[in-house]
């Protein structure tokens, strides 16, 4: 048996936790693992959810550094219009 869990498994466990944890519930975040660091990117709906991304990953992977590169989804108020011919 290997001493350390392969990074690819760590990455998928992290993605699964971010999807399933009610504090985040995001399925489309990108997670990469390099050495002792976990990088996560993508968009979330609020600052609260962005902070929760870090919390969830730190709880899951306490031995790894978490670099949270997610951003908060910003939608404009003025709609685009298109005529469908």
């Amino acid at each position: 048996m290997a001493d350390a869990e392969p990074d690819v498994y760590v990455m998928e466990h992290a993605r699964a936790a971010l999807a399933k944890d009610p504090r985040v519930a995001e399925l489309e975040l990108d997670v990469t693992v390099a050495a002792d660091t976990v990088f996560v990117s993508g968009t979330v709906g609020s600052e609260e959810r962005r902070q929760a991304v870090t919390e969830v990953l730190r709880e899951l992977l306490p031995e790894r550094e978490v670099v949270n590169q997610t951003s908060i989804l910003s939608v404009g108020s003025t709609p685009d219009s298109e005529r469908i011919e």
Binding site: E28, T43, S46, E48, G76, S77, P79, S81, I84
Partner: protein
């Protein structure tokens, strides 16, 4: 002309109160109807749906919606539907509705849809029961979508409202490996046979807005992540005289 406002993937949480207030304030001056392409909530919790219902309640134009996969996460989709319905939202699942817009008839056929993939690389109704159940769910939905569109025969404008994508074109930007979980060509086939003026969907946050079915029906991915706005407006001509 009928002006359709559309958005998908709102992902409302209990922390989302007020987030649509400003964009919705002007909506009746921009659009005749609001269509929502599913993933209304983050986890399908009734409390999340209530926040959205409060936001939509009192809107002066009709609101029609389908649910998305997030709205099923807590196995409380029936409660979600009830809460939204009580707020005046028409929630469709394999059904259609007709809305009168300035004397013209807009028909909307709605379905969550499901996955399976696209021509040349799609799942088959073959093998293990779980695999058959997966593809049969999509097949069943496609049949109901086609029937719902057929029920709209004679209306002035027909729109198909989905959560999952009917074409691969609007998924460009998503990882190729997950295309089978983002939509199915069966949904496009279900639209092309009876015909429609427009298909709206969400689900693919990293996709692109515009595409067309093999039969020539315009498709728009209205996930907020894609359109970058609270909603977009699509103006549909109802020939020859509106």
């Amino acid at each position: 002309m009928i002006r359709v406002a559309a958005a998908g993937d709102l992902h409302f949480g209990t922390d989302s109160a007020g987030s649509l207030r400003e964009p919705l304030a002007d909506l009746p001056s921009h659009a005749d109807i609001l269509l929502l392409a599913g993933d209304l909530t983050r986890r399908g919790e009734p409390a999340e749906a209530r926040v959205l219902a409060d936001e939509l309640g009192g809107l002066e134009i009709p609101v029609v919606s389908v649910l998305g996969n997030h709205d099923y996460e807590s196995d409380r989709e029936e409660e979600i539907t009830k809460i939204l319905t009580e707020a005046g939202v028409t929630v469709l699942e394999g059904e259609s509705t007709v809305v009168d817009v300035h004397g013209e008839r807009l028909g909307v056929a709605g379905l969550k849809g499901f996955g399976g993939g696209f021509a040349g690389a799609c799942a088959s109704d073959f093998g293990e029961p779980e695999m058959k159940a997966f593809i049969r769910h999509t097949q069943d939905g496609a049949r109901r979508l086609s029937a719902a569109l057929e029920d709209l025969e004679g209306v002035d404008v027909r729109v198909a409202l989905l959560h999952y994508s009917p074409i691969r074109e609007t998924l460009q930007g998503e990882p190729l490996e997950i295309f089978p979980f983002l939509g199915s060509y069966l949904l496009a086939e279900a639209v092309d046979d009876p015909g429609a003026d427009l298909v709206l969907h969400g689900h693919a946050h990293r996709g692109v807005e515009k595409g067309v079915t093999p039969g020539g029906v315009r498709v728009r991915n209205v996930a907020q992540h894609v359109i970058g706005r609270a909603y977009n407006i699509y103006e549909l001509n109802c020939e020859p005289d509106c």
